[in-house]
């Protein structure tokens, strides 16, 4: 059997022998001294199922040995390596998909409950002072500046055609927006000042959920786990070094049921492929910024609103946003949890929380995700009441640009000097001789090239 051969390879590699457990059991009573009389000493090796027989008990024992190697792995890298090194056919899940009702399917794959609206705010702690008021005007100005810069002010080599507008204009706009908002809000949140900002870095996650009977092949009729892989590329993501606080307690029971799909995932459509199993949050395990804060996703042109309306799928617009959020945020939080050493048999002891913003350039939707459980395999999920929770808002928008002569005039007059100038030019290091100093003719000002610079004039307005 392929599975038996694979387990045997694993066992040989890890160096454990068939007799290890027996030897340990035999040696143990010799170590303990006078306490031995209380516990009955086993004078024969423990009676356990065979390792190599073609039986369910033997298979169970082999699986437990493999799980023991994962538990005994010394570093997270080694653990991830053992979990992902065997490649089998798996479903490739795309967060940005055109499939109908994909959000319900993804909820069932990831054991997620979807709640509309945002999570409850944290209880106000009496010891900390209230946070300073949010300068909404400054934030709105910054967002307008980013929007106008990309859509209107920036001169490009050639006029961007409509089909390239998405990658040439909307993508840099989102980059600028994230960078400027992070900068402006770091005053209120010091964690953002030290955060790492990634642009288009991949996020991968591999997990097992559910079982199926193999329909054809040499393993026909046998039970096999369903494997899934998400290879996502968020447009921007912010990673921090300290974990975000939980929204609700770990064992919070949500009355909403998770949708159960009665057919195989192939109906979604979802296709199987065999390639490298990777688990990646955007950086490798050694990075201190290993917790996620927010992801920003840009929907491609293929899934834009006008196209969906033309295809008579007006109800799928929300679904596209929700499916993207559930899949991407589950992958990110799951990968973060695995970077901390948790896996399906060692479930998370604290919830992993991340946020997401999904947009198509004009319409925005905000999501929060809390990962409460990684135990999604059939064996681990038998008595697992925990569910992952995803909160999401309705689609907000549109964000549009009005570039007309009236708007230009309004922009020009919007910057009165009373508000303080928005930008400062760099002042010269060597100021030229000013009237007030001894007159130096421009011809002999070539002295700039030979002697020391003229002294700085006093009273220079350095504002």
């Amino acid at each position: 059997m392929a599975a038996a051969r694979c387990w045997r390879l694993v066992l040989r590699g890890s160096g454990l022998s068939l007799h290890t457990a027996a030897e340990a059991a035999v040696k143990a009573p010799e170590v303990t001294g006078p306490d031995v009389a209380a516990a009955p000493v086993a004078r024969y090796p423990p009676v356990v199922a065979s390792l190599t027989a073609d039986s369910k008990a033997a298979r169970q024992r082999r699986v437990e040995r493999w799980q023991a190697t994962v538990h005994a792995a010394k570093s997270v890298d080694e653990k991830l390596r053992i979990l992902t090194k065997m490649q089998f056919m798996k479903y490739v899940v795309y967060p940005q998909t055109f499939a109908l009702n994909a959000d319900r399917w993804y909820q069932s794959f990831t054991k997620t409950v979807f709640l509309s609206g945002l999570p409850p705010p944290p209880p106000a702690r009496p010891d900390t002072e209230p946070a300073p008021a949010l300068d909404v005007v400054a934030l709105r100005d910054a967002a307008c500046d980013c929007l106008l810069q990309e859509h209107f002010f920036l001169r490009r080599k050639k006029r961007v055609p409509l089909y390239l507008e998405h990658e040439a204009i909307t993508s840099p706009f989102l980059d600028q927006l994230v960078a400027s908002l992070t900068g402006l809000l770091s005053a209120r949140n010091p964690a953002l000042a030290n955060a790492a900002l990634d642009c288009k870095r991949p996020v991968h996650f591999y997990w097992l959920r559910g079982e199926e009977i193999i329909s054809h092949g040499h393993r026909k009729g046998r039970v096999d786990a369903l494997r899934y892989q998400i290879n996502d590329k968020p447009h921007n993501q912010i990673r921090i070094s300290k974990q975000l606080p939980e929204f609700v307690p770990l064992d919070y029971s949500v009355p909403v049921e998770i949708p159960v799909m009665n057919c195989k995932p192939d109906k979604l459509p979802l296709f199987k492929r065999q390639y490298e199993n990777t688990i990646f949050i955007g950086t490798k395990t050694a990075d201190p910024h290993c917790y996620g804060h927010t992801q920003f996703h840009l929907l491609p042109d293929k899934l834009k609103r006008e196209r969906l309306l033309k295809q008579n799928c007006a109800d799928q617009i929300e679904v596209v946003f929700r499916a993207n959020a559930i899949a991407s945020l589950f992958a990110w939080t799951g990968a973060q949890a695995m970077y901390q050493g948790f896996w399906s048999e060692a479930d998370v002891t604290r919830p992993f929380v991340s946020q997401g913003v999904i947009t198509d350039g004009k319409y925005f939707s905000f999501f929060c995700y809390q990962l409460n459980t990684l135990a999604l395999t059939a064996q681990a999920d038998q008595n697992n009441p925990r569910k992952n929770i995803c909160w999401g808002t309705q689609i907000r928008g549109p964000l549009t640009v009005v570039a007309s002569p009236v708007a230009e005039h309004r922009l020009r007059t919007r910057r009165p000097s009373g508000h303080g100038s928005r930008a400062q030019p760099l002042r010269g290091t060597w100021d030229l001789p000013r009237p007030g100093h001894e007159p130096v003719s421009p011809a002999s000002a070539g002295g700039l090239s030979t002697t020391a610079p003229p002294g700085k004039p006093e009273g220079t307005p350095m504002d």
Partner: protein, 361 residues
């Protein structure tokens, strides 16, 4: 078929072949129907148009088809008003509507100046000063401007860019060069808490600057002053990257272009000595070696060789680290070089931070 007689077709085919200069054999893949005979084909009848003065020829033009016995019509030459772009011929250069007598040399991102910095200085009437200005160096050395755990943060940035940010074992320069510059700028931006004026800056990527039109951005842009240009050399292969000297020359010229556009915007198009010099900074890197540049534009009067010159301060070939080992070097089962950078110089990041904070502190 266009031509009914086989002999006419063969003649045309042969003419075509002769026109190509081939040896007379048919084109590869060209099959010709018919029996080949060695008799030469008869020459085609000459198409003559007879002009008898005083007589009006009766032609078959009105009948729209050939009629034996009627004269051959002479049509006026047809002037197609549109040619497909494939067959269009350009007019000679001096007939082009935008032609000027004086040649204009265009400098773009891929131009490599052969003489390097010397040529760039001559082109922009600039004087070179080694080392950064004292104001910027004082910003670099001032301990108040340092970020806490600065060295640790910079080492983390180097690790992230060179090793951690992708699933590959050894990321390529095309990915790590923009990542390292973005991360260093993000690290500098963390100083925003201390200097709130840093928030009033915006970054524009890959935009077009054209000094002949005297503008980088449209009017009304709230961030019209260029602060620092970051030029990345991120090609994977060394011949595709610029040499350090050529990179410095490119930096001088682009900083000069930005400063000139700014000066034209502020003071108009006439050439003169500026009362308030325009200062633009530039940082050029290939991910490991940094070149810092501060250019001060004192005059736009570039035609004459004498007079006030522009100034440029260059700090060249600042290594951030000597080499980065992505995999540990193991000799005889002992780790000789651990994973990480060798020869790390924190001074380079201090200068980077100083250039970033210049103007806002």
């Amino acid at each position: 078929m266009a031509l009914a007689s086989r002999s006419a077709r063969l003649a045309l085919a042969r003419l075509g072949r002769l026109g190509l200069g081939s040896c007379g054999a048919p084109r590869r893949g060209a099959y010709e129907w018919g029996v080949r005979s060695t008799r030469k084909p008869e020459p085609p009848p000459p198409d003559r148009v007879y002009e008898i003065p005083g007589l009006e020829p009766i032609t078959y033009a009105g009948k729209m088809h050939f009629m034996p016995g009627l004269a051959r019509p002479v049509f006026p030459p047809w002037d197609p008003d549109w040619t497909p772009p494939k067959f269009r011929r350009l007019p000679p250069l001096h007939e082009h509507p935008l032609y000027k007598d004086q040649a204009c040399y265009v400098f773009h991102q891929r131009c490599r100046l052969l003489e390097g910095v010397k040529q760039a200085l001559w082109l922009t009437k600039t004087k070179l000063i080694e080392g950064l200005p004292e104001k910027v160096l004082s910003l670099a050395d001032d301990p108040r401007n340092h970020i806490e755990n600065q060295d640790e943060c910079v080492l983390n940035v180097i690790f992230h860019a060179r090793l951690w940010h992708s699933t590959e074992d050894i990321p390529k320069r095309e990915t790590y060069c923009p990542v390292i510059v973005d991360s260093l700028i993000q690290l500098c931006k963390s100083q925003i808490l201390k200097h709130p004026s840093l928030a009033r800056r915006i970054c524009a990527q890959n935009n077009m600057l054209s000094t002949t039109w005297n503008r980088g951005f449209r009017e009304g842009y709230p961030y019209p002053y260029p602060h620092t240009l970051y030029l990345l050399e991120s090609a994977n292969l060394r011949p595709h990257r610029f040499q350090p000297d050529q990179l410095r020359a490119k930096m001088i010229l682009f900083a000069f272009g930005n400063a000139l556009a700014q000066a034209r915007l502020l003071y108009g198009n006439d050439t003169k000595v500026l009362e308030q010099p325009v200062v633009v900074q530039s940082v050029g890197t290939d991910g490991r070696v940094f070149q810092f540049l501060v250019l001060q534009l004192n005059t736009t009067d570039l035609a004459s060789d004498e007079g006030v010159k522009n100034l440029v301060w260059i700090d060249s070939d600042q290594l951030l680290y000597e080499h980065f080992w992505c995999l540990p070097v193991v000799r005889r089962k002992a780790v000789v070089e651990p994973v990480g950078p060798t020869g790390f110089q924190p001074e380079t990041f201090r200068k980077f931070l100083a250039l970033y904070l210049h103007g806002a502190v």
